[in-house]
Amino acid sequence: MKIGVLVFPGSNCDHDCRHVFQNVLGQPVEMVWHKDALPAGLDAVVIPGGFSYGDYLRTGAIARFSPVMGGVKEFAQRGGLVIGICNGFQILLEAGLLPGAMLRNRSLHFICKDVYVRVENAATPFTSACTPGQVLKIPIAHAEGNYYTDPVTLAGLQANAQVVFRYCTPDGKATADASPNGSLDNIAGIRNAEGNVLGMMPHPERCAEEMLGNEDGRLIFASMLEAVQQIKSKLSIVGS
């Protein structure tokens, strides 16, 4: 599986994403500068966390104009896997690849801590290694993760099982208090209607190694690996 990790000015989880794919999962990674074209031959694109363009104006609002984003849109339209984490999720919202917007956290503070999320849809290329309803402990680190959208869009997300992760208590209850940032319907991560683009606020790359005391995040990357292998084996069957 060949991964492209986008690098915007101000990206700061780009090295962490490269580390997980390259050193933990043993997959080749290409770092893609935002002014360059998206290279050919990628199996998945990662839009990492950080503060692209300093988060000035609005999170993700400037990054969506970067030259590389045209290629990312085409890649997604062709069915390529795209995962946006934290600032990457915000960029996907601004780019229109996912619906909705982010508000400031309910507390108005930046929050960095472990939170619990419930896997609402385990039938996605990003969650197939999880069981439905499984509770994962994954850290968040953001000031604007309070997901918001209009009622019609929300109903659509719910009806199409596009809500992939909800904030919950350690025993899996999606109560209002369990949401660290006040997000609508406790939403922590959503996918697009086609299912190949995921945005999530928690950082799975920060909990994918035993040494860091938590490997829950690894399930996300393992799922992606499996999905890519399936796509490839289907292609090879078609090709033979």
Binding site: G10, N12, F51, D55, H109, A141, H203
Partner: protein
């Protein structure tokens, strides 16, 4: 070319620049003529206390700065210490007290920005930040405002940079109400043979400016930081710089890319005194001169004078000396990162810092004189008259503790001891995925990717101890910092300091400073820990009232096997709880006396450096051999608070404890809350009890099994072999409630 029209330098002008008559005479002597206004300004910032260390230098020389691991000692942008595998840790701590009092968010933010630049200028990628903060009591709206602003500013800058703020400490005392302390520590990793230094070597090499444009902000910041405050200090707001962490992130990546491409001779950030300090210091270190042409300096607004350009402290700017012919490669990389960049000068062989603007020479000063020949003062010092009053404390007049449960709860919710969760949750402490031990244990630990190693870091100083006895207080700070590292499984390898004191022109303050240096020296020599970088912040006083002497220490330790790190919280029901060290009647200067009896008096706790060293050796052996489950140092609030912290500080699971402590001849409060040094709480599996006790006995460290982990309460019995009394019995939920959310409860008020 002609000299600019001479401006008459009046006595008023000299005084406004914080220069004495003698200092001015020396300037005239160096130049062989009267300076012009630009030159006067340049001398005034370079010879300010902040830049020249004129009151401290003669004493700083006494500190031990060498050792087998030291790659770079004091005098550069940061210190560097070898950790093996061809790598070094590069670290430094710096204060941003004055700006943070005037404008807390920007003051703290630019403090973070400055220390980050000091580290990446050396060729190191910053991987950890820590902060040491001091505020007045949170019962005033002003102090709450200052704390909220400082914490938000640190987070705002560090989070955006993607450098985790992995630890620190916050202490509260009313003395800091008008002069809070914001000390920021940064550590980076560099290849030992790829350390960059601030040197302008090679006559003819181009001098290149890059980063942000120069504006009118921060002019005379260094001079402000070298002055006391009064009620008019609010008017100094324009001297505070405004930070742009996004720009700094670009600067960081551009610097590391420039350094990876073999283009540079030397590099230095434009911190205090901006273009003046970076140019004259780089020239002076190489024994060269620099000719600068201000015409090319990127600027934010038109009409800036040479005086303003040379003294601006606009943030996120760097000066590099490139290899001749490599200018275009440098410019290309800076442009890739959307930075302003311009060749602004050349290295010369005449030793002169010559500044031109629009074809005119506007300043011409020997670089070495400006950078290194500032005044040196051996200021008089003597103990203050009130010192005896502080240390003499009649314990008979203080009643022993009656309700130990309530006393413990009061201590746990006092802001200095309470959980700092409200603070560190606003800092990204996990980015870069190295944080093996997150905030909330004795030290922060980050792994070094690509090796089996990890680095532990702590910042420590008890200003009250230092007030009561500056020499003992400084020794205690070194011992505590080392103990915190050792409790995490690390061997201390280096130290940086940030010495916060009042006005050095006052003999009592200078006495505090001189004694603190002596204390640090003796302790560092005993532990063989070199001091490789540092910073002095004088004039921390407002309306004549000084802060407590606060020689803050940032200590770094090495863990050879990253999977052998240790945390402070209990791990398992049924484990033995073992106390290393012994308790004395050390109530002087304790948090208990302050919180419960409103007294900040007495002598600080007794410290034997020999006993401390042996105890630390014992703890390290036990951790390395895998014999213990948890290790926690006893400090503020003594044994009872340390026990409560062992019960409460795990993220996921709280565990109770039942212990019995020998009273001996001591007061109950001294056993529970006294702050005797060289004591460490361990927990170990029952089957390892003998291993632990044998190891301690072999080294001569007092060790005793005092109880076991388990239950839903913290229960402490006091007594002797004949009779014991249950003195503390509090449910974990109550302890947790008072300790965990205390800061947040105080800070939600307007």
């Amino acid at each position: 070319m002609k000299q600019p029209a001479p401006l008459v330098i009046t006595k008023d002008l000299i005084a406004q620049h914080n220069l004495t008559d003698d200092e001015y005479k020396k300037i005239v002597e160096i130049l062989g003529r009267e300076p012009n206004l630009t030159e006067l300004g340049m001398f005034s910032v370079m010879w300010s206390e902040h830049c020249s260390y004129k009151s401290s230098r003669v004493h700083l020389r006494k500190l031990p700065t060498t050792g087998p691991r030291v790659v770079q000692g004091p005098g550069e942008n940061a210190g560097a210490v070898e950790i093996g595998d061809g790598l070094c840790v590069v670290f430094k701590m710096e204060s941003h007290n004055h700006p943070s009092f005037i404008e807390p968010y920007q003051g703290a933010a630019t403090g973070v920005g400055g220390i980050l630049r000091d580290v990446f200028t050396m060729g190191a990628r910053p991987i950890a930040l820590l902060d040491s903060l001091r505020f007045g009591g949170l019962d005033t709206a002003k102090n709450r405002h200052l704390m909220r602003g400082v914490v938000a500013g640190i987070g705002g800058y560090g989070n955006c940079m993607g450098v985790p703020t992995v630890g620190g400490e916050v202490r509260f005392d009313d003395i800091y109400s008008l002069n809070p302390l914001v000390n920021v520590f940064c550590l980076g990793i560099a290849h030992k043979d790829k350390i960059f230094r601030g040197t302008a070597a090679g006559v003819g090499n181009p001098v290149i400016y890059f980063g942000s444009k120069t504006g009118r902000d921060g002019i005379h910041g260094a001079t402000m930081a070298s002055d006391s405050f009064d009620d008019q200090s609010e008017q100094k707001r324009p001297t505070v710089q405004v930070g742009d962490p996004f720009q700094e992130k670009l600067l960081l990546e551009a610097c590391l890319e420039l350094m990876a491409n073999d283009l540079l001779v030397g590099i230095q950030d434009m911190g205090a005194a901006g273009l003046t300090s970076s140019s004259c210091e780089m020239a002076s270190r190489a024994g060269n001169g620099i000719e600068l042409d201000l015409t090319h300096v990127p600027r934010r607004e038109p009409g800036m004078t040479p005086y303003e350009l040379m003294l601006s402290e606009s943030q996120e700017r760097m000066l590099m000396v490139a290899k001749a012919g490599k200018e275009n490669d440098c410019i290309r990389i800076c442009r890739k990162w959307d930075l302003d960049v311009a060749v602004v000068g050349t290295v010369t062989g005449d030793g002169i810092l010559r500044v031109k603007d629009q074809g005119n020479i506007v300043a011409e000063i020997p670089a070495k004189s400006l950078a290194d020949d500032g005044p040196r003062y051996e200021r008089p010092y003597q103990p203050p008259a009130y010192q005896d009053m502080l240390t003499n404390l009649n314990y008979d007049a203080i009643p022993d503790v009656k309700d130990a449960n309530e006393a413990l709860l009061s201590l746990l919710e006092s802001p200095t001891i309470a959980s700092k969760r409200w603070v560190y949750e606003q800092y990204d402490h996990m980015v870069r995925t190295n944080s093996i031990i997150r905030p909330g244990s004795d030290a922060a630990v980050v792994r070094i990717k690509g090796t089996n190693k990890a680095v532990a870091m702590t910042v420590d100083c008890n200003g009250r101890y230092c007030l009561l006895h500056p020499y003992e207080g400084a020794r205690l700070a070194v011992a505590e910092a080392a103990r915190n590292l050792v409790c995490s499984g690390a061997e201390p390898i280096g130290l940086t300091d940030c010495l916060n004191f009042g006005n050095p022109e006052r003999p009592d303050i200078m006495w505090q400073f001189v004694l603190a240096i002596e204390g640090m020296k003796d302790a560092c020599e005993a532990f063989q820990i070199p001091i490789v970088s540092g910073n002095v912040s004088f004039y921390n006083e407002t309306n004549g009232l000084s802060i407590y002497p606060t020689p803050m220490l940032g200590m770094v330790g090495l863990i050879e096997e990253a999977d052998r790190t240790m945390t402070q919280w209990f791990k398992q029901e049924g484990d033995d709880i073992i106390l290393l060290g012994s308790s004395r009647e050390d109530l002087g200067g304790s948090e208990y006396l302050k919180v419960i009896h409103s007294r900040e008096q007495g002598s600080p706790p007794y410290l034997s450096l020999e006993a401390e060293k042996v105890m630390q050796e014992c703890v390290l052996n036990l951790i390395r051999s895998g014999s213990v489950q948890s290790v926690h140092d006893c400090s503020d609030g003594g044994l009872a608070v340390a026990l409560a912290e062992c019960c409460l500080s795990a993220q996921d699971r709280k565990l109770g404890a039942v212990v019995k402590l020998a009273l001996g001849r001591l007061r109950r409060d001294a056993v529970l809350f006294g702050e005797s040094q060289s004591r460490v709480l361990l927990s170990a599996k029952r089957e390892n009890r003998q291993v632990v006790l044998d190891q301690a006995r072999r080294l001569g460290v007092p060790a005793e099994v005092i109880g076991a982990v388990g239950g839903n309460q913290l229960v402490i019995y006091l007594g002797d072999e004949h009779s014991t009394t249950k003195t503390v019995d509090v449910p974990l939920s109550t302890l947790h409630d008072r300790w965990a959310d205390s800061l947040e409860r105080m800070l939600v008020q307007e």
